[in-house]
Amino acid sequence: MSGDRKDPFSRGEEFLQLFSRGAEFTKELLVENERLRANLASLEQAQSDASKTPEEWDKYRQELQARLQDLEQECESVRMRLQQVEEENQQFAARYLEVEEENNNLANLYVASYQLHSTLDLDEVLKVIVEIVINLVGAEVFAVYLLDGDSGELDVAVSEGAEPSEFPSCSKPGGIMAKSLESAEPICGDPTQVPNLEEPIVCIPLFVQDRPIGLIGIFALLQQKDGFSALDHELFSVMGGHASTALFAARLYSQSERKLNTIQGFIDLLTK
């Protein structure tokens, strides 16, 4: 313990050395501080000089203006592209709706033609025609006329909304049904006309190879149906074509069945 004790003189020497090192360090710090101050002052002066020079200032301003112009052009081009994309988007949306509608229409037409040719039974074909006219067209009162082989007249084979006897004859002179049969084209009247059983709103003649085999007359539409769409006109065409062939095929099939049965009867009679 006594070894740690030093005399006051040596301790004073140590303190003096420490103090002188501190003084040197402070001096160095002051020199460094002065150098940095000088550097800062020279930089501030250089910047100030540069901005004060008109050439430098012009150059700087031109650079800024050019940059601003570039940015404005970029902004304008982005804005135009955005507008183009928005227009394209609207076109795609409109096209999507068109395709959707077209898809729906094709589904209706496919179902109509599929169902019409799904059977060779005459009553079934007539039932399908009735279903199509009610469910797909939206008719409330209508009749399907078929050619009577004996009389050569078109008679009501099936009807909805009124008794068959209440419907007018197709051969009424000057009538819309007679006109439709003459032209072999569907005739579509005013869907908003007051429904009556004198004149149909829509006539769809049924022809097979230029020969009339029937006619569909629509006399009143369902109350929620206020007009005809493009699909309705397509359906009238499909009915005119496919219902005719379906009815014709069903009649031929039933005749051939009858003939086959008769022939079979003869053969059975002869062979027994």
Binding site: E101, N103, V111, A112, Q115, E131, I134, N135
Partner: protein, 132 residues
């Protein structure tokens, strides 16, 4: 198993094969949907009672049992009363609409139908939303 949990089962009760085919065509555009067809109200009741369905499309004018009777029977049965029901019919009168809705139909659509509209309504009801 998880795939099946996402699938939705829809029952079409309609006596017209033409309408059934058209509705199947429209609904097949949705993914993960199983469609079962019934040809009249009684057939529909049998099928809805014996299997799980997420939605039913029901016609009103049908032989054997009409659509309104079927709706009231479904709504009267505890296990079936939660099935959303869409009526698709030719009857466009306001009183017919009100009657069907008062019996428990969720939506009332009149023929001729727009397949898009049917799809929108069906999708909304399957999500548990009220169609706008």
């Amino acid at each position: 198993m998880e795939l099946h949990m996402d699938r939705k089962r829809i029952l079409i009760v309609e006596d017209s094969p033409t309408m059934r085919q058209l509705l199947v065509f429209a609904l097949r555009r949705m993914k993960n949907v199983d469609i079962v067809e019934a040809q009249d109200g009684m057939d529909g009741l049998r099928k809805v009672s014996s299997d799980h369905f997420d939605l039913a499309l029901i016609d009103i004018n049908m032989p054997v049992m009409d659509g309104l009777k079927l709706i009231s029977l479904i709504r009267g049965e505890d296990s079936l009363c939660g099935i959303p029901i869409v009526v698709i019919t030719t009857e466009g009168a306001q009183e017919d609409r009100e009657r069907a809705l008062s019996l428990g139909a969720n939506e009332y659509l009149t023929k001729p139908i727009q397949a898009n509209h049917v799809l929108t309504v069906v999708k909304s009801l399957l999500k548990g939303e009220t169609p706008s």
